[in-house]
């Protein structure tokens, strides 16, 4: 039984919580007692924030549309396809024909990488996220 200190994935309060892990399965959540925001409390979403993580509905492998149908693919093939399609679009229509939406649910590091990808790799400032919603 391990307790991993982390941050709630729901609202912007950023409550501290512990994920309880046993044999690779998340078995529960408990609030951080001394966290400056939640002081040992959590809301109903925080208390249940562990449940969706290991849900069998999770996307399990890359899917690529072939003949109009999404089909299972390997990472290698999927990434190759994306790389060639994005490069092709950039060459044909210019970098500004590509738009990138990052996510307010991703970490800071991921958002930083996304913006670097848009600006340095693609060469466009067309990057945004759903902050407005």
């Amino acid at each position: 039984m391990e307790k991993v200190s982390t941050i709630c994935p729901y609202c912007g309060c950023g409550c501290g919580l512990y994920l309880h892990v046993e044999n690779g399965l998340i078995t529960g959540v408990s609030p951080s007692a001394h966290h400056p925001v939640n002081h040992g409390s959590l809301c109903v979403k925080g208390w249940n924030s562990h449940e969706f993580v290991q849900h069998p509905d999770r996307l399990k492998y890359p899917l690529v549309r072939k003949d109009g149908i999404l089909q299972k693919s390997s990472w290698e093939d999927a990434l190759d396809l994306i790389a060639s399609r994005l490069s092709g679009t950039r060459e044909k229509y210019g970098p500004d024909a590509i738009g990138i939406l990052s996510s307010a649910k991703c970490t800071n590091e991921e958002n930083f990488v996304m913006m670097k990808f848009a600006r340095a790799v693609i060469g466009t400032n067309n990057i945004d996220h759903c902050a407005r919603l």
Partner: protein
């Protein structure tokens, strides 16, 4: 955040959550705090228990409003008039902190001219809030020294969203409720890492730390670090991207962890735009409405399967730690992008999340001291310029981030859509306590899913009586763009003339009918005001209760059966 940035030079909650309990006045505008930020509401309640005065301005009677000493129920979309009215009283009654205004701010005279015109009586006419209430709130807010102002989507999701925020900033500067503990202007951010996504430059016009892409100096710094030439013109916002896609100009999109088909206003336009794209990649943890339209879907991991940091609404950068191995074949988003970059000829070469943060810290002044090894024990609050800095619990001490704070003269402008005979109700949308966004996460959590299983429209008893519906009846909500059918929930939580529909539900996606109007500066959609009509749905005869077994022979059998019951002996 554009509104805040133009006034103070920095867009974030100025103060800290832990200060709330010691405040004397808490003024909440357009935030359903108990439901949307429960743990912040907990601190507010604590302050009230300790004797603070709570003022809530919200058309709906939310739970936080029930604790308020004064609840102002302004008409939707009239926040500017309400705030101008309050500031008019503050100026008129000499409650302005004139020293602060002189030393720390600029453009007061222009601003004063506009506010002078908006007397409480004028404001009353526009907002529906009694002039006496406006006066009282102005006096309470201005005379206490430890006054905190909070706002949320109720302020920003309007055509006048930026104006609303600037008005709030004006109010704070007028009374000098900024730059000290237990004061400030505090936007409550909706999603766990919206603050971080903005901080890290996932925006079309700025790099991380709000360094402008148009600024040659900043650009040069990033160019030399990244060894690539970078574009200088600001890019497109999300709304612009969909418009551009619809026009056939934007050809490909890469969407990470978002579900714009559900979350964006005017759904059918978004779908149309996406269908026009040559190529769409969606990276997410569950299948979503948007992913269903994608050419490639990549499985990403949840917060429990990766390391990294989130920045909460009070600018606290906190560590997210990997608890379990990535499920199935999923990968962290940063790793996917790294791999993809490699295939596109750009080696990022990150091996762990902390390496990325190290680079971000180097390039981002406000994150300069934010390094993973410093973040144990509840993180650090930016601005944190260097590795010895303890972080900043409240901002704009002694001077604003941009130097002088700017008063913006704001005139009241009515919302984009107003009601008329055909569309007599104002629709405002929002979230529910048990639900979150487009329900990809909470929909897979038994307790949350159970509590609010179906979509509804909150409607005032008087309005309900007028159109002849009761709780539980089906109603059709019709706007100029579309219609959805929802169950009615009659309650006085919602004032007359306004109805509320939550936006989480796939079966009744309220964004089919919301307005595509956006704020011209921040491009935030007007989710809080849209004119609609409500039409009771009357089941057609024979439709429900289902009667298709009501055939003649059936009746015959039944009638024969009971016509002459045998009398028991």
């Amino acid at each position: 955040m554009a509104g805040l940035a133009s006034a103070f030079g920095s867009g974030a909650m100025t103060n800290s959550i832990s200060e709330i309990a010691d405040a004397r006045v808490i003024f909440v505008v357009g935030s359903n705090t108990t439901e949307q930020h429960p743990m912040i509401a907990m601190h507010m309640l604590e302050a009230v228990d300790r004797g603070a005065t709570l003022i809530v301005a919200d058309p709906r009677k939310t739970q936080i409003a029930a604790f308020a000493h004064t609840h102002l129920r302004q008409r939707s979309g009239t926040d500017v008039a309400l705030l101008n009215g309050i500031m008019n009283v503050i100026i008129g009654e000499g409650l302005v902190d004139i020293n602060f205004v002189r030393r720390r701010t600029e453009n007061f005279d222009e601003f004063e001219k506009v506010v002078k015109r908006c007397t409480p009586e004028v404001a009353e006419k526009i907002t529906g809030v009694a002039a006496s209430d406006i006066q009282r709130v102005a006096r309470i807010y201005a005379t206490e020294k430890r006054s905190m102002l909070f706002y949320s989507m109720g302020i920003t999701q309007h055509v006048t969203g930026v104006d609303n925020v600037r008005s709030c900033a004006n109010l704070v500067m007028l009374t000098a409720h900024i730059g000290q503990p237990m004061t400030g202007l505090n936007p409550l951010r909706g999603q766990n890492n919206v603050q971080g996504a903005c901080d890290m430059g996932a925006l079309p016009d700025v790099y991380s730390g709000y360094q402008k892409v148009a600024d040659a100096g900043a650009r040069k710094k990033f160019e030399s670090a990244w060894r690539r030439k970078l574009p200088s013109a600001p890019g497109m916002t999300m709304i612009d991207m969909f418009d551009s896609a619809r026009e056939g100009k934007l050809k490909a999109m890469y969407i990470v962890g978002e579900n714009p088909v559900m979350s964006d206003p005017d759904t059918s336009h978004v779908v149309e735009a996406i269908r026009k794209l040559d190529f769409l990649v969606v990276q997410d943890i569950f299948m979503s409405e948007t992913a269903e339209l994608a050419d490639v879907i990549l499985p990403a991991v949840t917060f429990a399967e990766k390391d990294g940091t989130f920045t909460n609404t009070e600018r606290r950068v906190q560590k997210v730690r990997r608890a379990v191995r990535p499920m199935y074949g999923a990968m962290p988003d940063w790793k996917i992008i790294s791999e993809l970059s490699k295939k596109m000829g750009y080696e990022m070469g990150y091996r762990a999340a902390h390496e990325i943060m190290e680079e971000a810290a180097l390039l981002t002044p406000v994150y300069g001291g934010i390094l993973h090894h410093r973040l144990d024990a509840f993180g650090l609050q930016w601005p944190c310029p260097d590795a010895d800095h303890p972080g900043t619990s409240f901002m704009h001490r002694k001077k604003f981030a941009k130097g002088l704070g700017t008063f913006n003269p704001i005139e009241f402008t009515p919302p984009e859509e107003t009601t008329d005979m055909a569309y007599p109700f104002i629709l405002t949308t929002g979230r529910l306590y048990f639900r979150y966004h487009t329900a990809t996460m909470c929909g897979r959590t038994a307790t949350l899913e159970r509590e609010e299983p179906e979509c509804f429209v909150e409607i005032n008893p008087k309005d309900a009586g007028r159109i002849g519906i009761r709780s539980g009846n089906s109603v059709k909500a019709v706007s100029r763009r579309g219609e959805i059918v929802v169950k009615a929930f009659v309650t006085d939580r919602t004032p007359e003339g306004i109805v509320f529909i939550p936006f989480h539900f796939r079966e009744a996606a309220v964004n089919l009918i919301t307005s595509p109007a956006v704020d011209p500066v921040a491009k935030i959609p007007e989710f809080k005001v849209c004119a609609i009509n409500l039409v009771p749905v009357i089941p057609k005869p024979g439709e429900r209760p289902k009667n298709h077994y009501n055939r003649k022979e059936d009746l015959k059998i039944l009638n024969e059966l009971y016509e002459e019951p045998e009398v028991p002996s």
